[in-house]
C-alpha cells in the first residue's frame, strides 16, 4: 500500500534518528560523570555506611559513632569531621548495629529521640547505606510530645504531617503520570520508557546544578526542562513516528519502549554512577512546626510548583487550540484528521509536553529523595498504579489516583513497615482492575 520510495525515506529517518540519539548520549557520557566535581563521592565500589550529623543546618563535629557487624565482623569507631560527615567502608554485606555515643555530643545537643541511639539494619552488597541520627538543639523534644494529642492511640500530628507529605508525593507522581496518560491518550502507546524520561530530567538538573555547572537549582531545572522538550520531540520524530509510518503494531512499539527503558537506565548507571546524589540546594532542611502539622519548606514548595504545573496543563488542555486539538485526537483520530487537525503535529506536541512533565516530576522527586539512576523506573510502577486507579487515558484521572496513592503510601507507614508502602500502591492497582477497570474517572465502556 505504501510506495517503496516512502518506506525507504522512513528507514533513512529512523536510522538518522537512532544515530543522532546515540551521539547525543555519547556526548552526555563523555562530558558528565567524569567531571572532577564528582570526585567528592566515595569511589569505593564496595558496601558501607555513612551519614552526616547536623543540627538545623550546622554540622556537628567530633561525635563518636560505632559500627559493629552482628555476626562479629567489622567493628569500627569513627568521629564525624568538620562537616559533620562520617563513613565506614564494610568488607561484607551483613546486618550491622550502628550506635552513636551520646556522651560525645556537644553541650545543648541531644538526640531527637533518646531511644534511637543505636540502629540495627542490613547492608546489601555494594550498598552505601545512609544512616540518619536526628539531632535537636534541645529546644523542643520534650514539649513536642505533649503537643501531639493522642486519640485512641493515634498520633494525629504525625498523621497530619504524613498526609501533607503524601500530598507532596502524590502531586509529584501525578505530574509524571499526567505526562504518561497524555501520551497514551493521544497516541494509544503506553510508554514504558517514561520512567527514564523522569530520571533524565532529574539527572540533567543535577548536571546543571552540581555537575557541569553550579547554577541555582531553579535555573538548572529550567535548563533540564528545555533539554527534556528536545528529547521528547526527538523521540517522536526520530524513533516513534518512522516506526508508526511503517505500521509497526502497538505491541512492537511497547517492546521498543521497553528496550529504550533498559538501555537508558543502564546508560545512566554507567555514566551517572550507581550511587544517589543530591542537589546542592535544599538538601537538608529542618521541619517547621505549623501547629497542625510539621513540614519542611521544600515540601510546600514542591506542592506549589507541582500544582502550578498541573494547573497550566489543565489550562492548555481546556482553553487553547492545541489543547482542544489534543482532546479531539485522543477522542477520535480519524475524525480529528478529517476536520482539519494536523494529527502529526499534535502527537509531536504531546510527546514534548509529556516528556517535560516527566522531567519536572523527576526534578521534584530528586529534591526530596536524591537523584538516582533508577528513580524513574521505581516511580513508573507507581505511575501505572495512579493511572489505572484514576482512569487510563483520562487527563485528570492520573492526578486523582496519584494523590490517593501518595497519601495511602505515606500514611501506611504509621502502621506498616516502610518497605511495604509501594506494595500497597500496587495492590490498589490490582484491586481496581478487578472491580472497576476503567478507573475512578474513566467512562463505562468495554476496556477488554
Amino acid at each position: 500500500m505504501y510506495p517503496n520510495e516512502q518506506a525507504r525515506a522512513c528507514h533513512r529517518a529512523l536510522r538518522v534518528g537512532i544515530v543522532s540519539g546515540l551521539l547525543f548520549l555519547l556526548m552526555a557520557a563523555l562530558g558528565g560523570p567524569h567531571d572532577p566535581a564528582m570526585a567528592q563521592e566515595p569511589p569505593t565500589p564496595g558496601q558501607g555506611v555513612s551519614g552526616q550529623l547536623v543540627v538545623g543546618s550546622d554540622p556537628v563535629e567530633g561525635v563518636t559513632i560505632e559500627v559493629a557487624g552482628t555476626s562479629g565482623a567489622d567493628v569500627a569507631t569513627v568521629e564525624t569531621d568538620d562537616e559533620g560527615a562520617w563513613s565506614v567502608p564494610l568488607t561484607s554485606p551483613d546486618t550491622y548495629e550502628i550506635s552513636i555515643d551520646v556522651d560525645t555530643l556537644p553541650d545543648g545537643v541531644a538526640l531527637a529521640d533518646p531511644e534511637r541511639d543505636s540502629l540495627t539494619l542490613p547492608v546489601r552488597e555494594g550498598q552505601n547505606r545512609i544512616i540518619i541520627f536526628q539531632l535537636t538543639d534541645g529546644e523542643g523534644s520534650a514539649e513536642d510530645e505533649e503537643d501531639g494529642f493522642d486519640f485512641i492511640g493515634l498520633d494525629f500530628k504525625r498523621l497530619a504531617s504524613l498526609t501533607v507529605d503524601g500530598v507532596r508525593f502524590g502531586i509529584v507522581i501525578g505530574v509524571m503520570a499526567m505526562g504518561l496518560s497524555l501520551i497514551f491518550g493521544v497516541t494509544g502507546l503506553i510508554n514504558f520508557a517514561h520512567g527514564e524520561l523522569v530520571t533524565f530530567g532529574a539527572i540533567m538538573a543535577w548536571l546543571f546544578n552540581a555537575g557541569w555547572f553550579r547554577f541555582p537549582l531553579l535555573i538548572a531545572a529550567l535548563c533540564a526542562l528545555v533539554l527534556a522538550a528536545v528529547l521528547g520531540g526527538g523521540l517522536e520524530l526520530g524513533l516513534v513516528r518512522p516506526l508508526r509510518r511503517r505500521r509497526t503494531s502497538n505491541i512492537a512499539l511497547i517492546v521498543v519502549t521497553i528496550g529504550l527503558s533498559e538501555f537508558l537506565r543502564s546508560f545512566y548507571q554507567v555514566t551517572f554512577g550507581p550511587l544517589p546524589k543530591s542537589y546542592r540546594d535544599y538538601a537538608i532542611q529542618r521541619e517547621a512546626d505549623l501547629g497542625l502539622f510539621a513540614v519542611t519548606p521544600k515540601t510546600l514548595g514542591i506542592i506549589a510548583i507541582g500544582a502550578l504545573a498541573i494547573l497550566l496543563v489543565a489550562l492548555v488542555l481546556q482553553r487553547t487550540r492545541l489543547g482542544t486539538a489534543m482532546r479531539a485526537v485522543a477522542d477520535n483520530k480519524d475524525l480529528a484528521a478529517a476536520s482539519g487537525i494536523d494529527v502529526q503535529r499534535v502527537v509531536l506536541h504531546v510527546w514534548i509536553l509529556g516528556t517535560v512533565l516527566a522531567a519536572l516530576g523527576g526534578i521534584l522527586l530528586g529534591v526530596t529523595q536524591k537523584v538516582e539512576y533508577d528513580m524513574g523506573f521505581k516511580a513508573l510502577l507507581l505511575m501505572f498504579a495512579a493511572v489505572v486507579v484514576g482512569g487510563l487515558g483520562t487527563a485528570y484521572g492520573p492526578l486523582l489516583g496519584a494523590l490517593l496513592l501518595g497519601i495511602v503510601t505515606q500514611v501506611s507507614t504509621l502502621w506498616f513497615p516502610t518497605e511495604f508502602k509501594f506494595v500497597f500502591a500496587l495492590l490498589a492497582l490490582i484491586l481496581m482492575l478487578v472491580f472497576r477497570p476503567q478507573g475512578i474517572l474513566g467512562r463505562r465502556e468495554r476496556v477488554g
Binding site: E262, V423, L426
Partner: protein, 326 residues
C-alpha cells in the same frame, strides 16, 4: 591469543547454563507472547517461584525434586494472580499488571518482615547437593582444545538442553493441536474466536500458566546451577532479556527461543570480553570493570530496539508473522 579466548568464552557462554535458563524461560514466553499475543512482563516472577520453591523446600528439610514440583505449583498460583485481574482487559493492562505483581513479589520476598520465611535479602545457598549426587558423568574435563567443561557443568548443560528440547517439543505438539489453532486465533482476532463460542479467557490463562511453569523450571535450574538464590537477581530487567532472546530468535517459531538465547548470550559475552580486553589494556579509559554488568543490559536494550526497527521477525520468523500490523 586473547581475542581467541574471548571468542571461546563467548561460545562457552552461548551453550552454557545462562543461555539455557533464558532459552527455557523463553520457550514459555514464546508460547505466551509469540503464539497467544500476551504481553507478559512478569516472566521473572515465575522464575523466582521456581528458584525459591527449590531452595526453601531443601532448607525446610524436604527433597530437592519436591521443591522443583512445588515451584511449578507456585507458578500456577502466580498465573492466576496475573490472569484474573488483567486477562479480560485489553493487552496493555496485562503488561501493567504483570510488571507490577512481579515487582510486588520481589519486594515481599526481600522484605525484612518476611525474612523468617524467605531469608530476606540473603536468600539461600548450597541446597542442590542431590542434583549433583545423581550426576552419572564421571569426573574430568570434556570437550576439545580450549572449549571444555567440567563434569558438573556438563551435567547442568545436558539436563538443561534436554529440558529445553522437551519444552520446545511440547510447544510444537500443542501448537499443532486444535488448542493451538484456537490460541493463534486469539492472537490474530479475539472477537472472531469468541464468536465461535470459545472461552478466550481460559485459553489465555492456560497459555500463561503453561509458559509460567516452564519459566519456573528455568528458575529452579538456575538455582541449582549457581547454588545461590537471592531476591535481587529477579529484577524485571531479566524478563526483558528473555524478550530480547525470543524476538532475536523469532517470536512465534518453535526453535526461535533456544536459538535466540544462544545468539543473545554470544553477543553479550563477546562484547563484554572485548570491552574487558580494552579496559585491561587501557584502551577503553572511560569505563571500569564494575560498569560491565550495566553495559550488558545496555546491549540487551539496544538489541530490542534494533530488532523491532530492522528485523522484527528475528532470525527465524517470517515477515508476515512478525510484529507488523496490516
Amino acid at each position: 591469543m586473547d581475542a581467541v579466548n574471548v571468542l571461546l568464552d563467548a561460545l562457552r557462554t552461548s551453550v552454557g547454563p545462562q543461555a539455557i535458563v533464558f532459552a527455557l524461560a523463553g520457550v514459555g514466553l514464546n508460547l505466551q507472547f509469540g503464539y497467544a499475543g500476551l504481553l507478559n512482563f512478569g516472566q521473572v516472577a515465575f522464575m523466582l517461584a521456581g528458584a525459591y520453591g527449590a531452595s526453601m523446600t531443601v532448607d525446610a528439610g524436604g527433597p530437592l525434586w519436591l521443591g522443583i514440583v512445588l515451584g511449578m505449583l507456585a507458578a500456577l498460583v502466580i498465573a492466576m494472580l496475573f490472569g484474573l485481574p488483567a486477562l479480560r482487559l485489553r493487552a496493555d493492562y496485562l503488561a501493567i499488571v504483570t510488571i507490577s505483581v512481579g515487582e510486588i513479589i520481589r519486594l515481599v520476598v526481600r522484605s525484612s518482615t518476611f525474612e523468617p520465611i524467605t531469608n530476606g535479602v540473603f536468600g539461600y545457598r548450597d541446597f542442590a547437593g542431590w542434583f549433583y549426587d545423581i550426576n552419572p558423568i564421571p569426573g574430568g574435563r570434556y570437550g576439545f582444545g580450549g572449549f571444555t567443561f567440567s563434569e558438573r557443568r556438563l551435567w547442568v548443560i545436558v539436563v538443561g538442553w534436554g529440558l529445553v528440547a522437551v519444552a520446545s517439543l511440547l510447544v510444537f505438539w500443542l501448537m499443532r493441536s486444535p488448542w493451538g489453532r484456537v490460541l493463534e486465533g486469539v492472537r490474530e482476532d479475539e472477537d472472531a474466536v469468541r464468536s465461535m463460542g470459545k472461552n478466550v479467557f481460559m485459553y489465555k490463562l492456560q497459555a500463561l500458566a503453561i509458559g509460567g511453569v516452564m519459566a519456573a523450571v528455568a528458575g529452579s535450574l538456575r538455582a541449582m546451577d549457581t547454588e545461590a538464590v537471592r531476591p535481587d537477581f529477579f529484577f524485571t530487567i531479566i524478563t526483558f532479556t528473555i524478550y530480547a532472546a525470543v524476538i532475536l530468535g523469532g517470536a512465534g517459531t518453535i526453535l526461535g527461543p533456544a536459538l535466540g538465547a544462544m545468539a543473545l548470550w554470544f553477543v553479550v559475552s563477546f562484547s563484554e570480553g572485548i570491552l574487558r580486553l580494552g579496559i585491561d589494556s587501557g584502551v577503553v579509559e572511560f569505563l571500569s570493570l564494575e560498569d560491565l554488568a550495566a553495559i550488558r543490559f545496555m546491549i540487551v536494550g539496544l538489541v530490542l530496539i534494533l530488532l523491532v526497527v530492522f528485523r522484527p521477525q528475528g532470525l527465524l520468523g517470517r515477515r508476515e508473522a512478525g510484529l507488523i500490523d496490516d
